[in-house]
Every structure is written in C-alpha cells, then in structure tokens.
C-alpha cells in the first residue's frame, strides 16, 4: 500500500495555511516573500500529486508546476529588487513603516 492522495492534499493545505499566516503576520517584507514561496510550493505539491494520481500519462500537472517555478523565480527577482529599492529610499523594510504613497 503506497501513500493515499489525501495525505499529500492535507500536507499541501497545512503548508499553504502556514504560508498564509506568515504573509499576514510578519512585519518584514522579505519574510512575507519567504512565506509566499511556501504557499507557491504548497500549490506545486498539489499539482504534482494530482498529475501522479489522476493522469500520469498527460503531462499537464508537471508542465503547470514548471511554469509555477518559473513565475516564482520572476516574482522573487522583482519583489526583492523592489524591497532593495524601497530600502534605499526609506531605510526600512518593515511593511508597517512603509505607509506613505509619496515622499
């Protein structure tokens, strides 16, 4: 008996919720991005698990996971560049201190 599909889904759900907590509760913008990575990975676990359990011959699940990884890389690059840019102007990366539209 191998692992049932539901175990993967529960694990991914738990990971997603931890990520959600991180995004909403942390003050540091970099820490928020870290938590977003956790959420994206939870989605990837689901995609690959569905691919393997439901339609292993059709590669859609894996293709989606590949594209999610590519988008995550792009998101991190731009997100971190934004944070560095903000830090240069405001000298802070705490999300609750960056509350002005224009300075």
């Amino acid at each position: 008996m191998s692992v049932p599909l539901s175990w993967y889904l529960f694990l991914a759900a738990a990971l997603f919720c931890i990520g959600l907590y991180g995004v909403l509760a942390r003050k540091n913008a970099i820490a928020m991005l870290l938590a977003v990575e956790l959420m994206l990975n939870a989605v990837n676990i689901n995609l690959v698990a569905f691919w393997r359990y439901l339609r292993p011959v059709q590669m859609s699940g894996q293709v989606f996971a590949v594209i999610v990884i590519a988008v995550a890389a792009a998101e991190v690059a731009v997100g971190l560049a934004l944070i560095i840019s903000v830090f240069r102007r405001r000298k802070t990366v705490m999300a609750d201190e960056i509350d002005l539209m224009k300075w």
Binding site: Y8, P56, A73, E75
Partner: protein
C-alpha cells in the same frame, strides 16, 4: 505501515516543522535557511511522486537561486543581521486564526472529494516522464506557447529587477 508511508510521514514532519520555523524565526537569516530545508522537503516529495525532473529542478532553482537571492537581500537591507524585538504584528493571532479556519475548511473539502483515498498505480511500461515532459513543453499541440511566454516573463523580470535595484549614476 509500508516503507513509503514511513518516508512520507518523516518528510511531512520535517517539512511542516521547517515551514513553521520559516514564519516564526526571529532572525531573518534563519528563516531563509529554514526555507531551504522546507524546499528540500518538497523536492523529496516530488521524488516520491516520481517527478524526478521537478525534484532536481526544485533544488536547482529554489535552493541554488531563490534562497541565495533571499539571503543576499537580507544582508543588503540591514546593518545588523541579529534582528531584535517583535517580528510579527501586534495582532498576529488574527492571521493565525484565519490560517486555522482555512485549514479546517480545506480539510473538509479534501475529505469530500470522491476517491481521495486512492493510491497510485505503477507508470505504464516504457513511459518516461522526463521525455514526455520535454515533448509536452515544446510540442505545438501542447504547451509551447505558455512555455515561451514564461521565458519572456523571466527575461522581463530580469530586466525589471536590474532596473529597480541597480544604481544608475547620471553624469
């Protein structure tokens, strides 16, 4: 209890523990390193699901590039890396409650899916997932367009990141 289930449970405990450390560590550097551990756990899960390409790509892209990028940004945006004080908002219990509620909701949905307790069958004889993934990514009747768009997106992100983070002196 088969070997596969034991490996899954160990990986899951490791993954969730590192994920919790990611969102609770006071030092951002530690959070980034725990993220590496969590992503490694995800790679193990991919390997267990026989998605060998994704398992290795996960290590190359996430640990080799994204985690290093986080560590660098962490170092570039503060003078003292020993973060002090409260790292979460004062009303942190609200997101925690929301996360728990979402977990309960998702769990009830998962339990309601028909056939969720299925286990997977062996891959068809002579079927190579890596080869099929490669063909699917570049074949015109499959996913060549999303694949190309993703690469253009990456290029655009690269240029954008350089523009945003770079310092251009006017002379």
């Amino acid at each position: 209890m088969t070997a596969e289930r034991i490996v899954f449970i160990l990986t899951a405990i490791f993954l969730l523990a590192s994920a919790l450390k990611v969102v609770t560590s006071r030092m951002l550097m530690h959070a980034a390193l725990w993220l590496v551990a969590a992503l490694f756990g995800v790679a193990v899960l991919f390997a267990m699901l026989q998605a060998s390409f994704l398992a290795v790509a996960q290590v190359v892209v996430y640990i080799g590039a994204i985690a290093i990028l986080f560590i660098f940004t962490d170092m570039l945006t503060r003078k003292d890396l020993r973060d002090q004080g409260q790292q979460t908002r004062s009303n942190w219990w609200l997101p925690a409650l929301l996360g728990l509620l979402l977990l309960v909701g998702l769990s009830s949905i998962i339990l309601g899916i028909p056939g969720v307790d299925r286990t997977f069958t062996a891959l068809p004889e002579g079927f190579d997932p890596v080869r099929s993934l490669g063909i699917a990514l570049v074949s015109p009747d499959a996913y060549v367009l999303p694949f190309e768009v993703a690469s253009v997106l990456l290029l655009a992100a690269l240029v954008g990141a350089v523009y945003l983070a770079g310092v251009f002196k006017k002379d």
